[in-house]
Point group: D2
Chain length 151, copies 4
């Protein structure tokens, strides 16, 4: 299977520049033909999904609850896990590489689970955890994410 | 969210008529504009995905393992849960309605979980569990599934 | 590890004879030095836990919710999974052998998952699923469960 | 339910002082009548379980795999989740309060999930994550953990 899946992780209540960065990350993911997976809710997740949809990309939302109406309007495929934050592990496992944009404790748990299993995590303005590859912009983050998939 | 998600559940080692039925179910799901979700592996799952893709439908595979290469070639979006059979609950939760085509114990667990939460299960040549709505053909099954979504 | 773990599965709203049977099953599990695991709630689960505790047995409740106060008063160790019915798979995986006493759809999902993975399921007055070993009494059920562990 | 459950989290390959600290934490948990829950494997998990058992405490191991023989010899009740690292969320949810002793990425994911849901995390020589309450010794850690339960 050659499809590439890139996760965008970040806070559901992010604001300002984080949102425009996440949207740009989403756009670039779609532009590069990858599927965008996220937690399906608001904030960074919604911005990334909006960006991906703006270029016709495919978006997957792995939701904590049981109601697909919880998904933001830019999610093509809502997966209603009913697992709460435990679904973070499903996002991490489904992604080939992860891009963290800002983020609070939930994002931190995803970064940790990803690094635990040896997945590449690119971080923009996020937790400074050893092993995360930092980027200054959406473009740099997506480029680094794509590069990691070619190894 | 108006997208409809229909699960096709059944054995990974099904043969013969069950496969052609599952493929026809997949085709009809796609023809009706719904997303087809399944367990992502072979047998009934692969036949249904092949059917859906033959008409350009979108297919979601919720896999038991961690490797998306386990997905059959007709899965657009593989979700690698790493949860083993426990992922059956994610399939059930993600689906608006389920169509069982044949099936062994795994399918039975899905039928049970779905009925437990009040979801409609249409069955073709499958476990005779009280609460399941039986159908004789792929067409009848998909029609009944779609009808349940309009209630 | 030589500890034996026997699951008692059945409906949370069971009544009458099913409860006295479940309580006797719990007693016999404790008498034989095994740990009793169940879903931690009422009905058959509570009766089995009460039986096990009456003889000083150890009881493990694997709960669907996040609040350990949901556990019945006879549970020594509550595991709050927050996974809803998905936690049925954890009960099945944790048990060496399962005894079903009556039961509705949730129990059926557990029977199916257990049989799928080759675990022995003893049934009293429960779903007649091929592969389940039927028993007429608590004593017969526990004896058959214990016998299966010595193979 | 008045039983208190304290998690001890930390690396499976910890060495030296971390192990003696974890063992002392386990002892103090048992001495205070609480149940000790951990991931059930080696390193910090085994040391904490050994400490708890040395004073007759009850130990619960929530394992990533399906084989209860993976549990260290000091685990009374092994829960075989088969969920891999995703089981970290079950540990967090089951615990009333968590004590992190050292730890790598897996521990970090648990700290993050716990803080996300507002649970108290006491840390000894572990990740410096905002919200974690640091302690210098096993005694200080357990005292702080117990104090948090009385609030």
């Amino acid at each position: 299977m050659t499809i590439k899946i890139i996760a965008v992780i970040g806070a559901g209540d992010a604001e300002g520049e984080l949102l425009s960065t996440a949207e740009e990350v989403g756009r670039l993911i779609a532009q590069n033909g990858a599927v965008m997976v996220c937690g399906g809710l608001g904030g960074v997740m919604e911005a990334a999904a909006r960006g991906a949809k703006s270029l016709g990309g495919l978006t997957l939302g792995i939701l904590p609850g049981l109601d697909k109406n919880d998904a933001n309007p830019y999610i093509d495929v809502p997966v209603t896990t009913g697992m709460g934050d435990m679904r973070n592990a499903v996002i991490v496992r489904t992604a080939d590489v992860l891009i963290a944009v800002g983020g609070a404790y939930g994002t931190l748990s995803e970064i940790a689970l990803a690094l635990k299993t040896g997945k590449t995590v690119i971080g923009i303005n996020t937790w400074d955890i050893k092993g995360t590859i930092m980027a200054e912009s959406a473009e740099e983050a997506v480029n680094k994410a794509l590069a990691s998939l070619k190894l």
